[in-house]
Structures are given as structure tokens and as C-alpha cells.
Amino acid sequence: MKKLLAILLAGAMVLSLAACGNQNGTTGEAETKGEAESNTSAAEKTYKEVITLGYDQPATTLDCQVLVNSIQDTLYMLYLNTLVNFNFETKQIEPCLATEWSHNDDSTVWTFKLRNDVTFSNGEPFTADDVVFTVERMAATGVSGAADAKNVEKVVANGDYEVAITLIQANMDLPYRLAMPFWGMLNREALEKDPDNGYKVGTGGWTPVKFEPGTMVEFDKVESSWVWKDVQTPTKKIIEKTMTEESARSIAVQTDEIQFSYSFNFGDINIYDADPNVDYSIISADLIYYLGMSYESEAIGDDVNLRNAIAYAIDPTELMDVGFSGKGEPCKTFWGPNQYGIYTDYEQQLGKNLDLAKEYLAKSNHPDGLTLSLTTVSAFEQMAEVVQAQLAEIGIEIKLNITDAPGLAQTVADKKLDLLLYSKTCGVYGDQFRDILVYGNTANRMKYNNEKVAELLDKALGETDDATRLALYKEVQEITHEEMPCVPLFYGTASGLFRKGLSGVIFQSNTRHNFTYAVCEESK
Amino acid sequence: MNKEYVLEIEDLTVEYVVEGEVTQAVTDLNLKVEAGTTVGLVGETGAGKTTTALAALRLVPDPPGTIRSGRILVCGQDIMKLSQKQLYNVRGQDISMIFQDPMTSLNPVETVGDQITESIMLHEKLKRPQAWEKALEMLELVGIPRTRAMEYPHQFSGGMRQRVVIAIALACNPKMLIADEPTTALDVTIQAQVLDMMKKLRDQFNMGMILITHDLGIVAEICDEVAVMYAGRIVEMGTLDEVFNHTRHPYTEGLFNSLPNIKNREAKLQPIPGLMPDPTDLPVGCAFAPRCRYATEACKAAQPAAHHFSDTHFAACTAYEDPSFRIERSKDRE
């Protein structure tokens, strides 16, 4: 068990969580401050009624079906529940609104049995009809789960507490997908009555009472929610604030103006080590940083030798040093770190190997080097400079094209993309890399088009036998390791700086932390 | 009998230091003014008249001007020794000044009434309403209807503005008034009105006055005594009659000669030849020597001493070393 967990469990509040994971659970090896917490008795402790969270990205909507990113998902988890949940600790799907679920033999029809004791924040009971409404609304206007919803042939409620979903194409990953926060269950009556605010009605432990887009969101506790059946917390209100300046946000934790800051500058760790009132947690995240090489770039095209030459000229540790003060895990394969079916023991391991790189370059169409453009977003500019310097060592001159997300989309649309330094969240289910490896999806900015890979992924999706499914995914990774559409660089980290007294937060490697059960002691 | 002097200036020397060059504006100037009498200070522009006036109120702008030496007694107090605070009380109350160009002497963004009231409030312990009332009286005294007190300077003509300036100066009925060419900027008809008013006010308040001008006509009309200045020094001083009818100094004679003689139309004008000397390096001897008809070598050698012709009349001219010396003008007037 993690050292931190042992210490915190010895703390006064013993929180046994029936449903959704446990307190301050962290996944992967966690790096924390680790000093033993002074063991004051429960009576003396007073708890904050309001907990304030500081995030760097603005929350711009509360309609879970419109937008997906780490801040939006974090908020959805407060006021919405999904049918099932994924426990990042045990790597298993756990019941949430649905108590049981099963699928027919070719995994095209999934049936879910629902809890019968759940009510929405507007008092309406949670029934199968709400599940039908949510899936239909996502299919009609949704963006976040549009890909899943399009694959749904029909969704039928059998009675109040059972629902059957029929898929067009079989998909073993459906439960993992439905565990995503943006698949929170919405209430039909609320949305039909008030389409503009109905999506704020959820079954979660909290409900948004004040929303200033891009600035702050305020949640009040919903005492009636089923979430509080077995566990009570003294917190009455949770506030999320947008604080884009990282150093100011970290200072706000030290002055107790906010109790949690999402991500902080690892370069300043020594300051936070010295501050007795704050604690931090850095966990490896399901976030892969890669160097994509576009097939629409005349210079690169499908020149495998050039691609491998570039791959072996990059030293990811230097990128991690510059970007994240050395924090992170170099990649061994183009796959998620906790993703089902990861395969890493190739005989030619990744990592900087100048001789090999020069060998490949000699065999490529541009033996004496060439000039390429490297596109990235401004947040990664410093790392892009490192790539620029590293590729210069093998005679590849890099012109940097720093832009923002829409600018990147435009560069891809204008077919002006050569190299792309970007990141991708990668979940735990097998099919996660479909959007980047299969031609036609937005995430596949490299326009990688390999029927074999697409075929393998489709087969794996419906494959019920575990061993065969793993073999299929192994073959996919071997192909990408060979053809190198993207150079996998390193896995990022999810970090948080918080008050010493904060507990009950479930840190999750997909960077969406669950604050439902957050509790914070009043600092002395 | 000891006359009651309102203003006594003793060997005043004022210099301007500009980019290394030193301009001797005024050198060893002595001047006394009794209450109720008016001294005319006459001379060409650049003779140091205004500097003398400013020195009397210690208003010479510090950089670049400095009062090198001299005692200046205003109603018996030597203002050179006064602290800044005491100086504020003296100015406007014991001694005040009127300036040449009415167009720029008034604060354009304040009403006329306010500007007079401010002067009163500075010196008399009156609350605003009473001070305002007194200001209206002053306005009427200088011939401006009290209804116009709320108007701004740009709504008045040149003459009216000069009346306002005078009203401001006399608001606290000072004992000494210095008028620096008060009517030069006005046209003739207005000039006469303003001068009459000044004479009436002078007698009414029994004020001592210095009238700075280059117009001998005005001097004749209003002044009791006359002092003629040339290149920073007083070259001749005496009563009106003595200077006008018993002129001694060649420069004074030159001034009178350059006036058109109404009686004798054909008389040729005799302007003084040459130009004012460069104040940054005045000659050792008499500054007027280069332009003086009677100039001798002695004149150029040393500063001319003052020769007294009566207890009130003197002229600083070396030629009078020889007692029989007479200038042209005084010959036929003897």
C-alpha cells in the first residue's frame, strides 16, 4: 500500500467509501512530502465549511455534453454521476448508478441494472428513462461523447430500473467509455423545462449554484443525494476558481486563500518542502507527449528511415528537464501507460541513439539533412526548442511554428504540418488510440493511414477472449514501433499542491481528480 | 526733518547668470520714496527698470537672477532678511506691483472677483463673504460695475483688465505701489483714464509710488521726482522741475531731444546715436560715453561720481568736474 495512504488512514477521519474509490487514493508511484502527520485527536479538529480549488484552465460551460478537458470533467464529477465508475486503484470498473451490467455474446447489446434509491437535485427520481434521454441527447447535439453515441443503434428502457443499449459495431470498451465523467446522467424533466440550465441538474453530491464562465463555479451540498448515504463530510460548499498564473496560484495555497492548486512549478518544490502548512502530490498521469510526423508533409511522407532517424535523435529526458523539471516517465511504446494491452519489450528500445539515427538518416531520402517545420502550442514552446537543438545535431534544421489550438487545426487543414509536438490523454481501455491511429479522426493530425492497424483495432474491439485481444494490440504496437507515425516521448504527471489538512481527494492518473468527499481541517 | 520713507533701496546690485555669461542688470542703485510722493523711473528698455522693481518685492526669479548686494527697506523692514513666511505678508500688504501687459497678468481660469478676493483673504482675517464684499467695492473704486465680478478676464477689454490688476494690487491698500509701465499696452484715451484713476487712488491712500515708463509725457503729468536710468545705474535724479528744466546729464538731454517738439514743427529730431551697451560686459568708465557728445578721455577712464546741484538733484557725469560745464539744453534755460 502507498506510504501516504497508510499515514492518512491513521488520521482522525476514517473514511470508508462504499462506492467510488477511497480517500486520497493515488495511482502509480506517488511522490509526496511523506512526513508523518501530527496525530491530534478528532475532537479538537475544526473543519472548513468552504473548500476552494484553483485551476489553470477556465471552466466555460456546465453542459457535460459540450466540452471535454480536465477542469470540465473534474466539475462534472461533482454534480453528475455516471452509470459505472473506473477505480484507478484496482483498475476495475465499479458500480455507480448501475449496480450490474452484462453484454450478449458478440458484445453488441449491453444491459444495465440501475439503483432504485437515487434522486436528482431537483427532486426527480433517477430512472432508466433518464439514461435513454441522456444517450439520445448526446447522439443529437452532444460533442464530448459523440463518437460513442453515433455507435448506438438504439437504447431501450425495460421498466424503471433497467436499460438495454444496442450498438452498431461491437465494443468491449463500452463500460470504460461510460465511466468517463462527461457521460454523467442528465434529467429529462429538468432539460425539457429549462434547456438553458437543465443540464446543471444531476444526481451528484453537489449542485452548481453560481456560475461565472471562465472565472468561478460555486457548488452547494445536496444533502438528499445518495452519495451521502454512508459517508458524511463537514464541507458545505466547494468553489472552483480560474487562476491561470501558476506561481500566484501556488502562493494562494500558502496563504490559505485556496486549499488546492492544480499543478505547480516543480522547480519551486524546495519552497513547498519548507512550508509546514502545504503538501503536494505528483503522480504519473495517463498523458503521453509525442512528436508526430505528418504523412502529408512532402519532406517526410512515408520515408520510414527518416522517421526512425528523427525518433532516435530525440532524448526525452532533456525535454522533461526543461518542461517539467525532470518529472515524468520516458515512453517505451506508442500506448497509454495504464492502457489495456501495453507491450514494451522490442529488441530495439526507444531513446536517444545518435549512431542509429545517423544510420537511418543515411538510408533516408535526405541523407544530408533537410529543413522541417515543428508546430506546437505556446505551452510547449520551451520543449520545442530542445527538439530543435537535438535534431540540429543530425543536420535537420527546424523552423518553429508556435501557435494556439485553433492555429494548429488550421496548419493541419492547410497541409502545412511537418512535425507536431503535442500531447494526448490516454485512458485505460484498449481502443483509446483509435482516434490517433485510424485515418479520418481529428486527433490523427499526422493523417496516418494503415488499413492493417484499423482492421486490428476493429477486431480487438469486439474480441471477448482476453489473450487474443492482447495479441491484437501487441501487433498494433509493433507496427507503429516499426513505421513510427509518432515518436512517443514521455508520460506526463498530474500534480496538486494543497493545504496540509486537506484529505478525501481521489487523485486520478487521468488528471480528473474527484473532490466529492474532500475535507479540509482549519489550519491552526 | 526725517521724512517717512516707504521704500529705501541702498546700493542694490542684481546680476543674471545665463550659461556662464553674467549680465549686470542693476549696479549700486540708491532710491528713496516718501509716502504720498511718486518717483518716475525713466530709461530705455533694458536699463534695469523692471529688475529694480522686482528686487523691491524680492521677486527676481532665483535661477538665473541673484541680488548680489543691497539693503531694501519696505516700511522700515529690510526684506532681504525676512523669512519666506514674513515675505508673503509684506507682499500685497505693504508693497505691491502692477505689470505691463494686462492681457497676460490675470489668471485666465478664475473670475475677476475671485482674484481680488484672494488678495484680500491672504492678508485680512475676513471670511469669504466679507472679503467678496470688499472686492466688489474695489472693483467699483477702479470704475468697473460690481455686476461683472463673476466674469472671466477674457471677457474684458485691455483697459478694463488693467483696472482689475490695479484693483488687485490696491485691495489691501498697500503703502507702496510699483507700476511697471502700466499704460504702455493701452491706447491713448484709455491711458489717460487709468492715469487719472491712479493719481486719485494715490492721493486717497497717501501711497508712495514708483512709476516705471519710457514716456516722458506721463512722467510730467503724474510724477513728483524723476530718476533717469541707463545701463543699470541712475545717471540723474531730482524733482520734476529740476530734471525737466535744469537738465544736467547728457543722456537726459538726449531723451528730451528725441521727443517731437509740438511747438516748433520744423525742428529736426536728434535721436541718440548708437545702441544700448551689451550688459554682459559694461565698459569701465561711463556707460554712456561711447554715445555722449561731451565725452572726454576722463569719462571713459572711471565711473563718474555723482555731482549734487541741490539737496535733491544730482547727475553722475565726470564732465561736471569742471564746474563751468553746461550741456546745450541747460544753456538757454539758465
Binding site: T141, T215, M216, T403, T442 | -
Partner: protein, 318 residues
């Protein structure tokens, strides 16, 4: 006077048309569109096209502009944000008071620091003090806002704990951001004050005031300053208008929910409706403020007021 005000307000209309068209075109030229920010990673080309269709992004520029202006003129409706679906008017209005408070605060800080400094260096024209004052004022301009902001936070919020380091709650939260922005404007306001005072410092009516026995402080701060006010008021008006534009960097450092950040976030996410709506509202507010500043001239300088009075009287005589 009323005719002048009416004319100025009427002139706002072409400006609003111009600004909205300009910003619409600019947002159209700017690369990419809002869908790139909606996390639509998993959509394929067809779904992406439908999404753009639903937001009306596929219509040609002119159609979108006409539709937008039609809504604006007939219903006064600024439309809703693509992402937040919130009406732009409410987005702007609930952030605008914060920007107004901060703009007032920073302009006040700037005035309190720059005007005495400007007067001081005008009175001591050419001396070392004059140069030092100018360098001091320049310091404010050269130090980037985020640098000064963070230094102030570390000292006053973290070390001393006197002031909050973030948010816009309560009066104390305005102090640090106002100082950060205010010092940035000091350089130009000090220069304007200094040069307008220099023009006035040698005028004759100051000599008259001194001859009255007025103390030097009163001569400078009452007589001289009042005559030098016009350019200074212009500078204050311009500073306030610029501050209203929102100091984006400072708002980010102090997490100040101002309009500046809203506009920048919307620009970065290409949410054209919010960008155009906010800029139109901002332009209206700034134009009104600059109008008020012009009207203020009349109260400060009677010559201007009488200019209007005379114009009105002349009209009556006709």
C-alpha cells in the same frame, strides 16, 4: 453643449458598425475556429462538419455578419457564446464592474503618483531631481506587469499577509492590482503633467499671484496647475480608457475576473460572438468616458465654455 453631446453619441453608431465588421473579418482571417477548442478529438470529418454547421460556422462571413447585426439592431441581442451558451451581454455585465473598479483604482494610483511628480520636476526643471523623477516614472513603464504583480503578492500577501493575493472580493483586493497597473501608466502621465506645467510656469499671472503675497505652494498648485489641467485631464481620460481595455496580464496574475481576460480567452478559443460583443460594449463605454472628459474641459477652462455659450447665443440671435 447638448448639440455637441448628441453629435458625439450619434457618431458612436458608425464606429460600432466599423468595429464589429473589423473584428468579424479579423476573427475570420484568424486561423482555425472554435471547434478546435471543444475537445472534439474523437470526432471524424463528418461529425466535425455537422458540429460547425450547428454553430453556423460554415456560412460565408457576410451572411454571419448580417445575421449578427440584424439581431443587434432589432433585438439589441449580442448573441450567445459558442461554448458557454451564455448571453454575451450577461457575460460582459457580470465582469464589467470588476474592470471598472480596477480601472478606477489604477487611474487613481497613477494620478496620485504622477501629478505631484510631474509638477515637482517641472518646478525643478533641468535639475538632477527632474531627471531622477523622469527615470522613476519610466521605471513603471519598463517593469512588466507580471513581474511587479508577483513581487507585490510575495511581499504583501505571502510574507506580510496584509492583502489578498487573488480575487475581486472586497476593497482590499483592489490595492495590489491597481498599483501594478497604475505604475505602468505613470511614465506618460508624468511627462504630460511636466510639459504642460512647463508651458504655464513662466506666465505673467503667476508673477501677479506672487506679488499678491500668495505662498509658492498656492501659486503652483492653484494658479499654475489649474491652467495646465487640459492636457492632464486628457491624459487621465486616456489612461482610464486604456485601463478599461483591461490589463490582461495583471488580471491573470491576480485572478481578477475582468473583461480583458474574458476577451483574451475568447480570442484564444475563437469564440467570435463573445469577442465581438465584448469589444462593442467596451468601445461604447470608452467613447462615453472620452466624451465626459471632453465635457470636463468646459468646466476647467471657461474660455471653452464661453465658446459654446457664444455659439448658442449666436444661434438665438439669428
Amino acid at each position: 453643449m447638448h448639440k455637441y453631446i448628441l453629435k458625439r453619441i450619434l457618431m458612436l453608431i458608425p464606429v460600432i458598425f466599423g468595429v464589429s465588421l473589423l473584428v468579424f473579418c479579423i476573427m475570420n482571417v484568424a486561423s482555425g475556429d472554435v471547434t478546435a477548442v471543444m475537445g472534439a478529438e474523437e470526432l471524424d470529418a463528418q461529425q466535425l462538419y455537422e458540429l460547425k454547421e450547428s454553430l453556423g460556422l460554415n456560412d460565408p462571413l457576410l451572411v454571419r455578419y448580417v445575421k449578427y447585426m440584424w439581431n443587434l439592431i432589432t433585438k439589441g441581442d449580442l448573441g450567445t457564446g459558442y461554448i458557454s451558451k451564455e448571453p454575451v451581454m450577461s457575460l460582459f455585465l457580470n465582469r464589467f464592474p470588476n474592470t471598472l473598479k480596477l480601472a478606477l483604482g489604477s487611474t487613481l494610483v497613477c494620478v496620485i503618483l504622477s501629478i505631484p511628480l510631474g509638477i515637482y520636476s517641472a518646478v525643478h526643471h533641468g535639475s538632477i531631481a527632474d531627471n531622477v523623477a523622469m527615470v522613476g516614472a519610466l521605471l513603471g513603464l519598463s517593469i512588466p506587469n507580471f513581474w511587479l504583480g508577483l513581487v507585490l503578492i510575495v511581499i504583501f500577501a505571502l510574507r506580510l499577509g496584509w492583502l489578498p493575493s487573488e480575487g475581486a472580493v472586497g476593497f482590499k483586493s483592489i490595492i495590489l492590482p491597481a498599483i501594478t497597473i497604475g505604475t505602468g501608466f505613470m511614465a506618460s502621465m508624468t511627462r504630460v503633467t511636466r510639459s504642460s506645467m512647463l508651458d504655464v510656469i513662466r506666465s505673467d499671472y503667476l508673477r501677479t499671484a506672487r506679488a499678491k503675497g500668495a505662498p509658492e505652494r498656492q501659486v503652483i498648485y492653484k494658479h499654475a496647475l489649474k491652467n495646465a489641467l487640459i492636457p492632464i485631464i486628457t491624459s487621465i481620460g486616456e489612461t482610464f480608457a486604456t485601463a478599461l481595455g483591461g490589463a490582461v496580464v495583471t488580471e491573470a496574475v491576480f485572478s481578477w475576473p475582468g473583461v480583458g481576460r474574458l476577451i483574451i480567452d475568447s480570442i484564444r478559443s475563437r469564440d467570435t460572438m463573445v469577442v465581438v460583443g465584448c469589444i462593442i460594449m467596451k468601445t461604447i463605454v470608452i467613447s462615453v468616458i472620452l466624451l465626459i472628459v471632453d465635457i470636463l474641459y468646459a468646466f476647467v477652462d471657461p474660455r471653452i465654455k464661453s465658446h459654446y455659450a457664444r455659439a448658442r447665443k449666436a444661434k438665438i440671435d439669428e
